[in-house]
């Protein structure tokens, strides 16, 4: 009996080895999504189609966002991971040195001809070459409730800060709170203002070197927020507990929020608002260095560990996800921006953002570079919350930042 069992086991092992020897490629994909998220569902569909077309099997591990704590250890430990995804800055900067260089493979499929130029450019800037392929991109600006703008008689999207204040006054007169602001994005709003005044490079220098008291732009940016507060242009609950304040766009109480292209989907999900949410680019400011066409653009990105023995197959799968019908389906099903510029059709929910995104000419990092100094990040967050609450004046905010940076 034992002999028969041993023979059976040996037979099964031989058969499985033969299958591998015959060239059945198996990819292992560690995903930043949880299996029930819309992104995971859409990616799984693309993978299924890819497997049906090529015969390449893909084993997916839906890791969720904690992938950032596990992926590097897995790569270093020699775990079989052929591709993974995470925030595109983290993939490029933290893990770039452990990933396959994709320049040649990208060249072979003319990737740069159809990619949104700013995204691979950012990856190359961080990792010295194309070590990651961005997808599921977003862009930023001021999201607004179109119906409220129409009801308030605002005909054109504000392009300057003065025009923005005029629009706020009209909204207030029409009975709407002009601005929402959630706690999670106070640095985003201040970052936009600061970058408009002094440019992103100077923002990074400021947070690293800490000459807050000497920096006129830092004070002016804080004064703009104080101005919104003093003039009554912020909704009552500002800063709200994310996403309480931005939900005002869907509840019909608040007209605008500084954020990114994921807002329409979030507002729809949270409030079931079915009207249109538009987006215009963050206005320029008087005496500022950056125009109103610069915005934070970002994405998730795929990377292929240098240890992968199936780099080309992994790259082919990535291309199936980030280009053509795969990219289009992902965009449509997750209400995100397409990454393949040949896909000109956008999700209906984002139609109101299209003109603003197409007009953008420059790219900012996340929080416009305000996060460059981890040491003062938490202090900046707390002091900005106080500024939005009205607990700090602009000058008190600058004094507090100067003190913290010493």
């Amino acid at each position: 009996m034992k002999k028969i069992a041993a023979l059976l086991v040996a037979l099964v092992m031989m058969l499985s080895m033969t299958a591998v020897a015959e060239g059945t490629t198996e990819l292992t994909y560690w995903s930043m999504w949880s299996s029930t998220e819309p992104q995971a569902i859409a990616i799984q569909k693309i993978i299924d189609e890819y497997t049906a077309a090529t015969g390449v099997k893909v084993n997916v591990e839906w890791m969720g966002r904690d992938i950032k704590t596990t992926i590097e250890t897995a790569i270093d430990a020699g775990e079989k991971v052929d591709l993974f995804d995470d925030d595109f800055q983290r993939v490029s900067q933290q893990l770039g040195g452990k990933l396959t260089d994709l320049e040649e493979m990208a060249k072979a499929v003319n990737y740069d001809d159809f990619a949104i130029a700013a995204l691979p450019a950012a990856v190359r800037g961080w990792a010295s070459s194309l070590k990651a392929i961005p997808y599921q991109s977003y862009s930023s600006g001021i999201l607004y409730n179109v119906e409220m703008f129409e009801a308030a008689g605002i005909e054109a999207a504000p392009a300057t800060w003065e025009e923005l204040l005029a629009a706020c006054e009209k909204l207030k007169a029409a009975g709407y709170a002009p601005f929402a602001q959630d706690d999670a994005y106070v640095r985003y709003t201040y970052g936009f203002l600061l970058a408009r005044y002094i440019g992103q490079d100077a923002v990074k220098e400021l947070v690293i070197n800490g000459d807050w008291a000497e920096n006129e732009g830092a004070l002016k940016a804080a004064q703009r927020i104080e101005e919104l507060h003093t003039l009554g242009y912020l909704s009552d609950e500002v800063p709200g507990t994310y996403p309480a304040s931005q939900n005002g766009l869907g509840f019909g109480t608040t007209a605008m929020v500084v954020c990114a292209t994921w807002v329409p989907n979030e507002v729809l999900t949270n409030t079931e608002y079915t009207g249109t949410i538009g987006m215009y680019n963050f206005p320029s400011v008087e005496g500022g260095v950056d125009p109103n066409t610069y915005a934070n653009i970002g994405a998730q990105a795929f990377g292929i560990p240098a240890t992968s023995e199936n780099a080309q197959a992994a790259f082919d799968l990535i291309m199936a996800i980030v280009s053509g019908t795969g990219d289009s389906m992902l965009a449509m099903e997750t209400n995100s921006l397409p990454c393949d510029t040949r896909n000109t059709e956008w999700p209906e929910l984002l139609a109101g953002c299209k003109d603003a995104v197409n007009a953008q000419t420059g790219v900012y990092d996340w929080n416009m570079g305000l996060g460059e100094n981890a040491d003062i990040d938490a202090t900046l967050q707390t002091n900005l919350l106080k500024l939005f609450e009205g607990g700090f004046t602009a000058q008190q905010f600058i004094d507090a930042m100067e003190e913290a940076s010493k």
Partner: protein, 298 residues
């Protein structure tokens, strides 16, 4: 029975090897790493650069870490007084012969079986949010606290502490209850016959005989608060801020980076870990020195 040395070694070996691999090695590596400049947790040792006490000095100079230490001390001290007092009170009341003891015991313990994430969400969205859908909005107004912004920078720490304490009381109450159950009933009977009322019985019988349990609770409380993480993350989910940051959150941020800041310092994270371990050790030693439970036998 004659003991064979070979057998002793054979039986002990798996446990010893597992202990060395799973516990001693990571602890030793973490302590050593805290004296080196290391970017990632898995960096090879030849990439480590000796930094002496630099990681510790940097922590001392960090505004965020100092705020984290202050927060954790307040959580330990004020939360500890509130949680341990309330849990002792509940334990004594439940043990005083009231009807429905099992029901009330289950009721007070119930928050412990609910995920901290769900509890924190409940507190944030239904109790403390004072905008559109705060369940307690009307009650706060009646109490004259309608304008308190519980989740603003001035109050969010206290809101977080209240929510955390609510979830913690039941666990410590159960330990106190088991301690009180162990005290022989005839001691209380004798005291009652001698004319001692309930408060006197509590002071002269229950408390002295509960010192061992109190010590256990204090140690558990210290461990759970020094490693305070989930509640802080739930109250400041996307960005770390000074009002809710704790050493664990700070360690997580500097070890793995944050959105928009991918700089990492595994050496700094290790130093935070060492400091936290030392804090627990220090508290444990202080508790052992201050609370003596070896003088009374029963």
């Amino acid at each position: 029975m004659k003991q064979s040395k070979g057998m002793i070694v054979a039986f002990l070996a798996p446990a010893v090897v597992a202990f060395l691999m799973m516990f001693l090695y990571p602890v030793t590596r973490t302590v050593i790493m805290s004296f080196f400049q290391v970017e990632s947790v898995t960096a090879k040792t030849d990439a480590w650069q000796f930094a002496g006490f630099n990681n510790y000095v940097e922590l001392w100079n960090s505004v965020t870490f100092r705020a984290a230490m202050k927060n954790i001390m307040l959580i330990w001290l004020i939360g500890g007084i509130v949680v341990l007092s309330l849990s002792l009170l509940f334990a004594v009341v439940l043990n005083s012969g009231i009807r429905g003891k099992s029901f009330f015991r289950a009721l007070v313990y119930m928050p412990n079986i609910i995920s901290a994430v769900a509890l924190a969400t409940m507190w944030k969205q239904f109790v403390f949010v004072n905008a559109n859908y705060g369940l307690m909005k009307g009650i706060w107004k009646t109490l004259g606290m309608g304008n308190v912004n519980w989740l603003g920078t001035d109050m969010i720490f206290w809101a977080m502490l209240i929510a955390f304490c609510f979830g913690a009381v039941g666990y410590y109450m159960l330990i106190f209850l088991s301690g009180i159950d162990r005290i022989p009933a005839d001691l209380f009977e004798a005291a009652t016959i001698d004319g001692a009322n309930k408060p006197r019985q509590f002071v002269h019988i229950t408390m002295p005989l509960l010192m061992g349990t109190l010590k256990t609770n204090l140690t558990f409380w210290s461990i759970s608060t020094i490693t305070f993480f989930v509640w802080s993350k739930m109250f400041s989910p996307l960005n770390t801020d000074l009002t809710t940051v704790t050493p664990m959150v700070y360690m997580y941020d500097i070890t793995f980076g944050t959105q928009g800041n991918v700089q990492r310092s595994a050496g700094g994270g290790a130093a935070v870990g060492v400091i936290m371990a030392l804090m627990i050790l220090l508290i444990f030693m202080a508790v052992n020195a201050l609370i003596r439970d070896d003088g009374i036998e029963y």
